[in-house]
């Protein structure tokens, strides 16, 4: 595209410099956080040598262990539930003629992306407080269903994208060979759709794992997840074991994201 050596039409003066600074600014704080999680000293500003003290401290802390379990249980439950619902909804809204009410279905599915999280959190607080009072149930069910709801759009997107890239030829062939609807789904559609479903489940899992605000509002006592535990710690002095937990969460997110990109990568 460059016409002459000294003048490239696509070059905007300063764009390269600004974007390099942006990438440095985006990653430097995260790298500092990771590095200081291995710091030997009490401080998060003075380097006192390499150590795993803060990981040991986090590991020995029962509250952290408990919060990790709650986080994993809620994220797993929410990911499974939202992915199942999103898969069904995606099958219902793709590869068929447009129907009345389709826009309504899209708006409903994407609704959690449009409403500020704090408003949803307040709304769920009112509802769960009333249900808790009426039924006495204070289990993890509230968190799982609430997380599943806001994870649905994230699970739906990759599944729908995958479905739109699949034509109906194979399903028609299966039906021509006297496969029942269920057999066609089980043996043809589902295996082809699987990468999309797994990708959707991963996004849902990451989204649930990240949530702070909604969880903070509707959790019952003793139901801290890792993010709400960390937020609670901030009321006191900042402690480096939060860095260690953050680093582990970051690593988990990165692993899931890499898996997501491998699953959705277009084959050449």
């Amino acid at each position: 595209m460059a016409r002459a050596r000294d003048f490239s039409v696509t070059e905007l003066p300063g764009a390269t410099l600004v974007s390099m600074l942006v990438f440095v600014a985006l990653y430097a704080p995260i790298l500092v956080l990771i590095v200081y999680s291995f710091n030997a000293g009490e401080s998060v500003a003075v380097w006192g040598g390499l150590s795993l003290d803060w990981y040991r401290a986090a590991w020995a802390n029962d509250q952290v262990k408990e919060a990790t379990w709650v986080s994993l249980k809620v994220a797993t439950g929410a990911a499974v539930l939202s992915t199942a619902l999103a898969t069904m909804a995606a099958l219902g809204t793709t590869r068929r003629p447009a129907f009345r009410g389709q826009t309504f279905v899209y708006v409903m599915i994407n609704q959690p992306l449009m409403v500020p999280e704090i408003v949803t959190a307040v709304a769920l607080l009112l509802v769960t407080a009333a249900i808790k009072k009426a039924t006495g149930y204070t289990g993890l069910g509230y968190l799982i269903v609430a997380h599943a709801a806001f994870c649905i759009p994230f699970a739906y997107l990759p599944i729908r994208a995958r479905l739109e890239g699949m034509d109906l030829t194979l399903e028609t062939a299966a039906a021509d060979l006297y496969a029942s609807r269920w057999q066609t789904f089980r043996r043809v559609t589902l295996p082809l759709l699987m990468p999309g479903i797994l990708a959707g489940a991963m996004l849902a899992f990451v989204t649930s794992l990240d949530d702070v605000v909604i969880t903070e509002f509707i959790k019952s006592p003793g139901q801290d997840t890792l993010p709400t535990y960390m937020l609670g710690q901030l009321r006191r002095a900042m402690k480096p074991d939060v860095n260690a937990i953050s680093t582990l969460l970051l690593a988990l997110t990165l692993v899931l994201l890499s898996a997501f990109f491998l699953l959705t990568r277009k084959r050449k």
Binding site: R3, V9, P13, A15, T16, S19, L21, V22, A25, L26, Y27, P29, L33, V44, A45, V46, L81, L85, A86, M88, A89, G92, T93, P97, F99, V105, M108, I109, Q111, P112, V115, P116, E117, I118, V119, T120, V122, A123, L124, L126, V127, V145, A148, A149, Y156, L209, D210, V212, V213, P227, M230, L231, L234, M238, S246, L250, T253, L254, L257, F261
Partner: protein
Amino acid sequence: MSPAEEAVRRENIKSAWQLSAPALLVLTVAAVGPLLIVLVYSFLTPGTHGNVEWVFSLEGWRGVLFDHDIFEDKLVLADGNLTIFWRSVKLSFITTVLTFIVGFPTAWFIATRSPASRAGWLFLITIPFWTNLLIRTFAINQIIRNEGVLNTLLLKAGLVSAPLQLTYTDTALLIGMVYVYLPLMVLPLFATIDRFDMRLLEAGYDLYASRWQVLRRVILPIIRPGIVAGSILVFVPCLGAYVTPRILGGGKNMMIGNFIELQFGQGKNWPLGAALSVTLLVIVTIALLVYVKAISGERKNG
């Protein structure tokens, strides 16, 4: 349409709804339905220990804008509330502008790389997008707080004689919000620049346009949908932000999100909190409508 075709069509529609129904049910129970309950609660009377009494009252809504002056028994404008609203809108707006100023060159840079390296640069923007907001807020806080990395470096380099006092200031909050919401600006900008026909630039330069004229008259008008999308994606979550102002703004520099939370915590005024939530939702809806209008206007003109 033959009766057989009609039957197939009906069957199709029926299965579409049956398959969507479970998702719609969960969304109704745990996302849309509760919003209606908020509206109902905003018209009730606060209970003494939080929660509500089921007695109709407009006090919650009155409290959004007015204070009750107990000495003179009259209503006065609630300056504190208005300040919080104004600060939220102002900070969200400035954040949106700042993310555009640094996000546009970044998106342009990524979109003009070779196809092979483009995916890599894009992945670098996507990672922070999916990284826990709380962790990113911690990370930036460790850099900018009074005894943080930035001040340590500045002091060592002799650039400042005393540490910059950024903790719990609006500046700290702005830096934090630009940091956490920047990917939301870069991604939609990249999507529109990626579709931009670079030959238009050659045409512009061939007609002796300056770089500035090409930017003003060619690039910016064509990528406008991306600018609008990015601005909405940054502005809306900024306005409802809770975590970032709580950590970086401290107790004093509240935004609407924190003020709402206060009503359900120490404030013990659930109807006021509900009314404030509805107000925030209305502001966000207006912003979204502006967005839809801008996009559809774009289609008509383009």
